[in-house]
């Protein structure tokens, strides 16, 4: 009998200790992989002045967009803060209510992976010669110019999986995998919502995508909501 059990009762318990000023990575690319229930629990919980690291900024007034709308986020680190039906972030940004650090998508992914892998900095060719290189150290290696980029780490990561076991092993659904596995590595406390939570042995060790060592809490959300359906229905959270 294993004495490890990372399952917690529900989203509220899972995010209860997110503190004001925390850095929070939120998985998802568009709505695929967006942990809507964890985000809503975070809105209910009330933590403020968050730095959010996520590829986008949500759509409509649910999920990540609702967290922004509630003015809980002071800074966003992302690659693409605009999407269809995305009005909350543009409005806050134009009003100076939220800071933006814009990062090329591959650099964003690699900085997060570096944070998880204990690599404090690395060189990348992306953004050389562009405005996003301003203020960055550059270096010529083997005749080509690269920028020095630093790791990204977080206090919490909120991630959506398809299935998790109570040791924290996770598998994902299709392109909802995206930032989940690397964010799980880069946060002090990684929280996964999964459609199902199973006992150890319920996931074949050959197909585990995120090993349990990277996961601190798992919470079962059997029928997660989809952002596009909520937006289409005109839903507003809370």
């Amino acid at each position: 009998m294993t004495t490890i059990n990372k399952q917690v009762k529900g989203p509220a318990e899972a995010v209860a200790d997110v503190h004001d000023g925390a850095t929070v990575m939120i998985g998802g690319f568009g709505e695929a992989g967006s942990p809507v229930e964890l985000i809503h629990a975070l809105i209910d919980q009330g933590a403020k002045r968050l730095t959010v690291i996520s590829n986008n900024t949500g759509s409509g007034e649910v999920g990540l967009a609702a967290l922004l709308k509630a003015e809980r986020v002071s800074k966003v680190i992302c690659s693409f803060p605009r999407t269809a039906n995305s009005t909350v972030f543009p409005d806050l940004y134009r009003r100076g209510k939220v800071e933006l650090e814009l990062v090329p998508q591959g650099t964003l992914a690699e900085r997060i992976r570096a944070g998880g892998a204990g690599i404090p900095a690395f060189y990348t060719p992306a953004a050389v010669g562009t405005p996003l290189a301003e203020g960055k150290e550059s270096r010529v290696l083997e005749g080509k110019e690269y920028l020095l980029e630093h790791w990204l780490r977080a206090d919490f990561a909120l991630i959506k999986g398809r299935c998790a076991d109570t040791h924290g092993n996770v598998v994902y659904n299709k392109t909802a995998r995206n930032f989940g596995p690397i964010m799980a590595m880069a946060a002090k406390v990684t929280i996964v919502q999964a459609n199902s939570v199973v006992a150890p042995g319920g996931i074949d060790p050959e197909v585990v995508v995120t090993p349990g060592i990277f996961v601190d809490r798992v919470v079962e959300v059997p029928s997660p909501q989809h952002e596009s359906e909520l937006v289409a229905a005109g839903a507003v959270y809370p």
């Binding site: 690319f29 998508q105 992306a126 299709k174």
Partner: protein, 218 residues
């Protein structure tokens, strides 16, 4: 059928088809959002191309029938897609390892401006109230083996998109290999823009008049 109303030059579909003709069998291809997405419809008979979408899928197939769409199976433009036999899912760091590591053969992108030295601007007008958004474009142009641009030859205001020097913020320096417009196929060479092919019925002097930098004939 197309809704294109210009009087001369290729339609968007024809432009996309012209791009597809140049892609060899077995190539790994990333298609940007917008006109580039059309290219996937025109793969010549007898060829298989493997489409990469940077949000974590290799072997991307066409849109599903509406009742079979999965909100968690989308492309970089956030449209519903399918996965073909031989597909693979992976996370974002692995996906951009494919891009940055030079494993993708070709990226087909849209453009706001292309300079005659291959500089590309396609992510921002640099206007002060614009919401800057870059996505994966800078990683793509820095990493893939070849970058093709597919674009209208001029803006809606008839300003050339093929220019001496980009005035918009750059996506990458000296990264574009070839440009497909409604008027012509043009290579970026060490000597500048060089004509590869004219659209039937379009003459070279007309293309030159719509181009903001010298255009070499071959």
């Amino acid at each position: 059928m197309t809704t294109d109303t210009r009087e001369i030059g290729w339609t968007r579909d024809e432009m996309a088809r012209r791009v597809a003709i140049d892609i060899p069998n077995g190539a790994y291809v990333n298609l940007g959002i917008g006109i580039p997405e059309l290219v996937a419809r025109f793969v010549p008979q007898g060829r298989t191309l493997v489409y990469h979408t940077e949000n974590g899928l290799l072997g991307m197939g066409p849109s599903p029938e509406k009742d079979r769409a999965d909100p968690e199976l989308i492309n970089a433009g956030k449209r519903h897609v399918t996965a073909l036999p031989g597909a693979a899912y992976f996370h974002h760091a692995d996906s951009f390892a494919m891009i940055r590591g030079g494993h993708i053969d070709l990226s087909v992108l849209g453009a706001m401006q292309v300079a005659c030295n291959g500089d590309l601007a396609n992510w921002s007008t640099g206007e002060p109230d614009a919401i800057p958004a870059v996505g994966g474009a800078m990683d793509l142009v820095a990493g893939v083996k070849s970058v093709y641009v597919i674009t209208q030859h001029c803006t809606k205001n008839n300003e050339p998109k093929l220019v001496e020097r980009c005035t918009y913020p750059l996506t990458g320096r000296s990264v574009v290999n070839r440009i497909y417009t409604e008027l012509a196929v043009i290579d970026v060479t060490p000597a500048g823009f060089a004509l590869v092919e004219l659209c039937p019925g379009v003459d070279l002097e007309y293309v030159r008049s719509r181009t903001g930098a010298p255009l070499l004939a071959r």
